[in-house]
């Protein structure tokens, strides 16, 4: 059935007229934050127009009026299903500009937590995709697995979603006790959950028919549109920042990058499913290699001293005062730092004028590029195919509209 999956029944000689439908922003599949205007002939989408911007909160402009450390809570709210990845991406950009490197233990912590976030991101995306195809049970299984991770995220960062865990030159606090054992047992449970989910959908004929050969994005188009991440990789664009431009300690870890062949919805689903397995692999390696040591750089111009020292020594009190009033004085210059976030290459372009405030912050949100290509992917398919295609590009409006 899959070869004629794209051909819809033709009305033949009957006279038809097109109808314009607004999908969203108040539409169950549009998250309330995006509108797709479609022209349909019967069920076939002739033309589509994606309108974004419903969740624009001015992150970039707000960042100009905040000290570098104060920007971190805002980055949580970019891609809110993988907040750690944004946190660490911004921290890395500022560290590059400062010319410092976070301590080795911190780098491992960042890899571990970042991969946890990647798993939550992919579970959410694949889960939502399954739910929108009517598979409510696998969706809740995915959410159950995600919930296990949120529990441990809460233990580490004190919050489930708005973690605000990273700092320039380190992380806010050390990992809790028994973190390793707990995380390993959680990962084991998640692997069981994934087995349940895969058994329900991966080889399910209905599920495959709904996804295969639909929403196709060719490799050339993916590169032309600037699409990276799982969506690009599903189209065959073999690019992963973690491997091609290693940061943190990714070059010491062994992991595979899944590549798709057809660039259709099913490939995007499978690539994400496999990336979850790879992330679990990375986390296990990083937990074995996790060294002891400081979690922050020992530079009082960047990291705040202990509270005890602040109250008892004049140097620390001065450092505290300067950090609170002036912020971290980042040398004048500009940097483009990019990391592999849940949706692809998350770039932070920061211009500094030497003060404690960034002069300009610009984010390269990966799903902005995915969403650009959406009209090309859904034109010619039917109304029912918009939903999985839209789900598979994992549009996160916080990141898209900033």
């Amino acid at each position: 059935m899959s070869e004629d999956n794209r051909t819809l029944m033709d009305a033949g000689d009957l006279e038809t007229s097109t109808m314009h439908i607004n999908l969203g922003p108040s539409h169950p599949a549009m998250h309330g934050v995006v509108r797709i205007g479609i022209d349909v002939d019967g069920e076939k989408v002739l033309n589509s127009d994606v309108e974004i911007g419903y969740l624009h909160r001015g992150f970039e402009k707000s960042a100009e009026n905040k000290r570098y450390t104060q920007v971190f809570p805002y980055t949580d709210r970019l891609n809110y299903v993988s907040p750690f990845l944004n946190n660490f991406g911004f921290a890395l950009a500022v560290e590059k500009l400062l010319g410092i490197e976070a301590p080795r233990r911190t780098q491992f912590i960042r890899v571990i937590l970042g991969e946890i976030s990647r798993i939550t991101d992919h579970l959410t995306c694949n889960g939502a995709m399954m739910m929108e195809l009517g598979g409510f049970t696998p969706y809740l299984f995915a959410i159950k697995a995600r919930e296990r991770l949120y529990k441990i995220i809460e233990k580490v960062a004190g919050a489930r979603l708005t973690v605000n865990y990273s700092r320039v030159g380190g992380v806010r606090g050390d990992l809790p006790e028994n973190f390793r054992e707990e995380l390993l047992s959680i990962l084991k449970e998640i692997e069981e959950d994934l087995k349940d989910i895969n058994a329900l959908v991966i080889r399910n004929r209905i599920f495959m028919d709904r996804l295969k050969g639909l929403g196709i994005l060719s490799k050339e188009d993916a590169i032309k549109w600037g699409i990276t991440g799982p969506v690009g990789r599903a189209s065959g664009f073999d690019y992963d920042v973690r491997r091609d431009h290693p940061y943190f300690v990714y070059d010491e870890l062994d992991f595979d990058i899944p590549i798709g062949e057809n660039g259709d919805n099913y490939d995007r689903f499978l690539v994400r499913a496999e990336e979850i397995n790879q992330s679990i692999k990375i986390i296990k390696q990083a937990l074995d290699l996790l060294p002891n040591g400081p979690i922050q750089v020992s530079d009082p111009r960047i990291i705040m001293p202990d509270k005890g020292k602040i109250y008892n020594t004049i140097e620390s009190m001065t450092a505290n005062f300067k950090l609170v009033i002036d912020g971290i004085k980042v040398p004048a210059g500009e940097v483009y730092s990019f990391t592999e976030a849940g949706n692809g290459e998350l770039g932070f372009y920061i211009v500094s004028d030497g003060s404690g405030y960034p002069y300009r912050v610009r984010v390269r949100p990966p799903c902005f590029f995915n969403t650009q290509a959406l009209p090309n992917m859904i034109n010619g398919d039917s109304i029912g195919d918009i939903i999985p295609t839209f789900g598979s590009i994992n549009m996160i409006a916080g990141e898209l509209d900033r």
Binding site: P28, L133, G134, N204, I206, D209, R210, S382, I383
Partner: protein
């Protein structure tokens, strides 16, 4: 004559108000409970009688069944919204048209054997028509109008698309539905449901049980297993439940044909779905699961196969046992039917039609031909 009228009224009241509607109502809660168990959730547990909201142990929740009451009260007391644009009269009439024709099908379903009460004997079936199942097909077709008109009169593009989808889907699957049952009609030689049920478990002329391979009762499920599978698929599509719920696919069409409905009007559409599940289960039980028959229990009592002995029972008691058996079978079938919804993802609109016309229809025709060939040799 008076006796017949009284019996008929009793039977109508019983099957409608003591079986179908309560069962359909309970199914709405069962659906939620069951899905919550499948999905590792707690499920409906808020509605309670004690008024103590905080202490879980003090609540009288009755397995969540009070949600049925709470939902009913909510539906009735919500604003009865009627649209300003579109056709208001048809809009109001559509849910009624979608709900009630299905209930007429109940009249032909035999829900028990022959019982004698106070010296008055009757078959537990409201009406015995020779046309039998044809009446069921006819009235289930009328429900299509309700859906179509609901979609059309709402003046909403999602409703319109949902209505169009529902219409083409239900019309397509009616053809399949009728053809899958042809084998059954050919084997038992009738369209009348009570005769079919009696044919599924009967005694030969010499008083010995008429069994398949010496031990299996001649139920539809054993004689027409393939038709049974086709019928389940077609009937699920006909009741518009997942994986065939494209007319109301909530991720695509918001709520499909009942997007513009509120209060009890929407409640009627939702309730009609569960009433259809009950009716589907009744027809399925009647045609494939031997109706009200308990295996090896005949009018005079048990006659076990392989000569293992027999046990005679009062015929009226047998009648009541059979009635309870029928209800039990219906509940089990309905419960199984609900599980499908929580297991499979949804088809796409054109895939549903393609499945109906290109796969189920040829298979149903093949089933008829094979059945005919086999029957001609017996």
């Amino acid at each position: 004559m008076v006796e017949l009228i009284i019996w008929t009224i009793i039977k109508i009241l019983f099957i409608l108000f003591f079986v179908t509607l309560p069962l359909a109502g309970v199914l709405t809660v069962v659906d939620r409970r069951e899905s919550s168990m499948i999905q590792d959730r707690i499920g409906p547990n808020r509605a309670n009688l004690s008024g103590d909201v905080w202490d879980l142990s003090k609540r009288w929740r009755f397995l969540g069944l009070l949600h049925l009451l709470a939902d009913g009260i909510k539906m009735i007391f919500k604003e009865d919204y009627s649209i300003k644009s579109g056709n208001r009269w048809i809009h109001t009439f559509a849910p009624i048209l979608a709900f009630f024709p299905g209930l007429v099908i109940l009249s032909i379903i035999p829900f028990g054997g022959n019982v004698t009460v106070f010296g008055s004997s009757t078959n537990l079936q409201i009406a015995s028509f020779d046309s039998g199942m044809l009446l069921a097909f006819a009235f289930s077709s009328i429900a299509v109008y309700g859906i179509t008109l609901a979609g059309w009169s709402s003046n909403n593009k999602f409703s319109l698309l949902g209505g169009v989808r529902a219409t083409s889907q239900m019309l397509s699957y009616e053809v399949v539905l009728g053809l899958t049952l042809m084998g059954i009609f050919m084997i038992y030689g009738t369209l009348e449901l009570n005769t079919i049920v009696q044919g599924q478990q009967s005694l030969k002329v010499d008083g010995t049980p008429d069994l398949l391979f010496g031990f299996l009762p001649k139920w539809g499920i054993f004689l027409q297993p393939f038709a049974m599978l086709l019928y389940v698929a077609a009937a699920t599509a006909e009741t518009k439940r997942a994986p065939f719920d494209v007319p109301e696919a909530e991720s695509e069409l918001v709520s499909g044909f009942f997007t513009e409905y509120g209060s009890m009007k929407m409640g009627m559409f939702l309730f009609a779905e569960y009433a259809e599940v009950v009716i589907f289960s009744m027809i399925f039980t009647t045609l494939f699961l031997g109706g009200y028959h308990v295996p090896y229990l005949y009018d005079s009592g048990f006659i076990l196969p392989f000569g293992w002995g027999s046990l005679s029972i009062n015929p009226t008691l047998v009648g009541f046992i059979q009635m309870l058996t029928f209800l039990l079978k219906v509940i089990i079938v309905a419960w199984g039917h609900l599980v499908i919804r929580w297991t499979l993802p949804r088809f796409r609109y054109d895939q549903v039609l393609r499945l109906g016309w290109k796969m189920l229809l040829p298979l149903a025709l093949a089933n008829i031909i094979i059945t005919a060939i086999v029957l001609s040799f017996i």
